[in-house]
Symmetry: C2
Subunit: 576 residues, 2 copies
């Protein structure tokens, strides 16, 4: 039923597609001159009405500017990543209806849009990840993605059949080699794939390489992406145009940074980072540009997080946030980022002191609030804490104060924050950092609560870099907060280093284990202490169950906790 | 570094493997007679020491019984699924060391074990999912998996390169066609794959088909599996032996049910369900057996859940559980299942009445506790509830009682349960059912808490079936609990049907949407009310953020919430 329904439903795509195969190479023109528009846009997954309208408007804008071609990003019709919605006929039918309505717009202009299409072969996965070429008010041709990433956050083999047939696309103004994202990454030492799509397409002598992408941000990705595109352009001696999606999709952040390279592999144009952008390039007038200075890691992460918060809220239909402000650096940083993303008036802070909270933490928190002018309330948690203790005394009285009472404080804070969030329609921002999340230094259903984790992919040492970056022009986060030793303040005189190695050491070990997938032997051989390494790796592994229940984490590194890191919950590996 | 290290590390596998290719077909014997042992075992992921020891003991046991061959399950060395541990050199090296030590055991007997091995090709994924044949104290040959499942809970393209070379394995007693799990599933209308591995292997005239598997349970899987194996045996006119993993791996449950078929496709032997088992078959003495009567769905789900609880606790190193007993059917059922899995003395119930709790709920809960003889405490949540209300009054006093106060009660219960769990070293059992989880009828950080969700893949209507199944011999769950209308008891006279359709309708719509991936148009065309369908689908989609933070759910259906269902958190699809 499913297969048949799907194939019938988008049969129109295949009939066009097969028809076009027979006319390929008909309009061959050498030394093409083209005016190409790059539309780098932010889509909401499954919002067919608005995604289609947005694309339509940019087709018109490009047409008005007399562009020959306007290029949109990978899977722009449904938005990327659409996940298992791709398994629904109804969802694919909605995609198809959007393509139909967009085709009608393409009079006097060509558009390349990203969309899933049916696989006509009765065997294999039901869909291809496709670039659809709209021209003369109809579907001119369809190109399927060849290299399907299936690592980290990517699951494309789950939905798509890989392409095995290679054809360039002839248009009146030139011959296009259309590739989809990963298709250009089979270069150099990136040896995941046995096929090289451009190695096939180049045989048909295209005039230009087009790449449509949904390539997510991490703070080292921008440089890699430039290098890959530049190498492709130079290797095949062809200009190259890449259009990437922009915007936050829950934890996945897309930086855009669409680019144009000349046939020597020189950067000749780039679009904005972290914002929608639209630019037109004439292939006869490509001049090398001085790339904007590459921002620092902290600057990139800062901009990514601000975009991530903003888009999570706006796409969820919320504008108000709440957080617990402790006087420590993590919540201070989240407050600053949220205020920038949502506006100061939309970030409510609750100060929730217990008997173990220090006066200096309160003072520091209040100092920061007065600088930002964001709303806040101070609510002591003493009374609920005492009421729980007296409720529990009959059962616990013979037992010493332990982690139970520490967790209790953190959970009472969470209950209070969630009561505010429920009553006033806010989303609670989680303030845990990646170092804590790694080693399980946090209370489940306590400080690990929240609708969105802002810093869950930012190590503690990077938290300091970000705080300093935020203070680059004026002191927003008080120096007191940055300077004092970190503490959860859940028992008297507690310091993070009571139970954890210094963050300078901890973060390096975590980075080697998490981002670089290095095992204990390799990390120890880098000069770290044997016992510390084993202890840290053990803490990471035995706390998988806690991370299983944490909020979505804005992804800024090459390996974030969440859907990109899939570890067994129950294991004995490195747990002893 | 990574690639080179890995290839050097298990180079020994490849050299053996290539050597054996040259001697294939040397010992060809027709009409083979073999004595084959099936070892259906329960492994702990990454517990190399104990997994290896267990395999070693069963090799000896088979050898003592003069078996020619002993067969273990897919990826038994590291345990399945090992997830991203497969990306660690160190983890693969541990696998390799286990294989080496097991080879030494294989004197006078052959063993087939499942293990990841390096891909010698410098392009493509780094590993193959392999069956390793140990014989004459060394690695005799290696077979790679061809069809890599990458749907639902499966991610095999993430780690493995698919096999493209087909060779049978010659041993003194016969020629084996070794396949790995999915390799036999490319039959009939299951058209996910373009290759048919047995179609290649049959050309080499094998004497028997061996299938090693890690095929997880769901309540309709058993019948499908039998049919697939039977069809393969009959189609190729060969006896077929399948060995499946057994045991719970966090949410994934493996039922074992290893089987033997004769060359007419008749079942001639089967191993136990949900338990380790070991049996020896002589291929000259295969006689059709009457398969045990197929249990009811409720019986299968019951046994799977009991195994899942038992293994989650034992593999985590815990034996004590705690749960909140409300007097409703969900928590009553979890109590009964946990008592069976862990022993009555290891299941602590807390009764946590609020002002909205009814006396009959308390009475029913106490009635059940007296039948089971499990420990319990009664703790009123009135005092903490009042203390939160008085804490919040300054901010909420002008606003009406709403979902905030309902959630507050659920969260105070969770805080109390977690305090007990922390203080006494128990794991909190979550009692939410799949109907509630689907539509978001539950409080995040309240009744949605827990280390393990027992019923998160069991619809409410199935909860009743399970309760009746548990009562089949004597009344363990009081009829009062089964008969009364469901209520969360968070405000006066509340009933589930105040905000939800009748469960009989709700569950059918949910099943079509979740298990069958049917869209609104298809579900409505089945006769369900237009508005109800759209309301239910909307509720499912807008509550993805809640499910993101729920505990691991024991998987008993073909589509459970958790890693097998990957939906965008932020979407507009079917949300209006």
């Amino acid at each position: 039923m499913y297969v048949v329904g799907l194939i019938l439903a988008i049969n129109f795509l295949n009939s066009h597609y097969q028809a076009i195969h027979t006319v390929t190479h008909k309009f061959r023109i050498h030394f093409a001159t083209m005016k190409i528009a790059l539309a780098q846009l932010n889509f909401l997954i499954g919002d067919f009405e608005n995604n289609t309208l947005k694309i339509k408007n940019y087709i018109r804008k490009a047409n008005d500017a007399q562009a020959d071609l306007v290029v949109f990003s990978e899977l722009c019709i449904p938005g990327y990543p659409s996940g298992d919605f791709l398994e629904f006929d109804h969802f694919i039918q909605r995609c198809q209806a959007s393509v139909q309505s967009l085709a009608a717009e393409c009079q006097g202009i060509t558009a390349i849009i990203g969309c899933p299409v049916a696989n006509p072969n009765p065997r294999g996965k039901l869909l291809f990840n496709a670039a659809i070429v709209l021209h003369d008010s109809k579907i001119h041709s369809v190109v399927h993605k060849t290299l399907l990433p299936n690592y980290d956050v990517f699951d494309e083999h789950r939905y798509f059949e890989p392409n095995t047939v290679f054809h360039t696309i002839d248009l009146p103004y030139g011959r296009l080699a259309i590739t989809i994202c990963e298709d250009l990454w089979s270069v150099g030492d990136h040896a995941l794939y046995t096929l090289v799509p451009m190695g096939e397409l180049i045989k048909q002598q295209p005039d230009i390489i087009i790449n449509i992408a949904a390539s997510p941000f991490h703070y080292r990705q921008s440089g890699r992406r430039r290098e890959v595109f530049s190498r492709n352009a130079a290797k095949y001696s062809l200009p190259l145009i890449s259009v990437n999606q922009v915007g936050g999709q829950a934890e996945l952040l897309f930086d855009g940074e669409s680019m144009v390279f000349d046939s020597a592999g020189r950067l000749v144009g780039e679009l904005d980072r972290f914002h929608e952008d639209f630019k037109i390039f004439d292939t006869t007038q490509l001049r090398e540009v001085q790339s904007k200075e590459q921002p620092s890691d902290a600057a990139l992460i800062h901009d990514a997080l601000v975009m991530g918060i903003r888009d999570y809220f706006s796409k969820m239909g919320f504008n108000k946030s709440i957080l617990g402000l402790s006087g420590g650096i993590d919540s201070a940083l989240v407050l600053a980022l949220a205020a920038q993303a949502l506006g100061a008036e939309n970030v409510m802070s609750l100060l929730l002191p217990s008997e173990f909270s220090t006066q200096h933490s309160m003072d520091d928190a209040l100092d920061m609030l007065s600088r930002l002018g964001t709303p806040h309330e101070v609510i002591e948690i003493k009374e609920p804490y005492q009421s729980f203790l007296s409720e529990l005394t009959p059962y616990f009285s013979h037992l010493p104060f332990d982690i139970t009472e520490e967790n209790l404080q953190a959970r009472i804070r969470a209950v209070t924050l969630m009561a505010f969030a429920n009553k006033f329609g806010c989303i609670l921002l989680n303030t845990s950092n990646k170092s804590e999340a790694s080693v399980g230094y946090g209370t489940l259903y306590g400080d690990m609560c929240g609708g969105l984790s802002v810093l869950g992919d930012v190590y503690k040492t990077q938290v300091y870099d970000l705080a300093n970056y935020i203070n680059r022009n004026k002191e927003i986060i008080p120096q007191n907060i940055i300077r004092k030793p970190p503490s959860a303040e859940l028992r008297p005189n507690q310091k993070d280093t009571d139970s954890l190695p210094e963050y300078e050491i901890l973060d390096k070990i975590l980075f080697e284990y998490i981002e670089n997938s290095r095992g204990p032997d390799q990390i120890i051989s880098m000069g770290f202490d044997y016992h510390v390494v084993l202890k840290v790796l053990r803490m990471v592994n035995i706390n998988e169950w806690k991370r299983y229940q944490t909020p979505p984490i804005l992804r800024v590194s090459s390996k974030a906790f969440g859907p990109g890191r899939r570890m067994p919950l129950v294991t004995k590996y490195l747990c002893q």
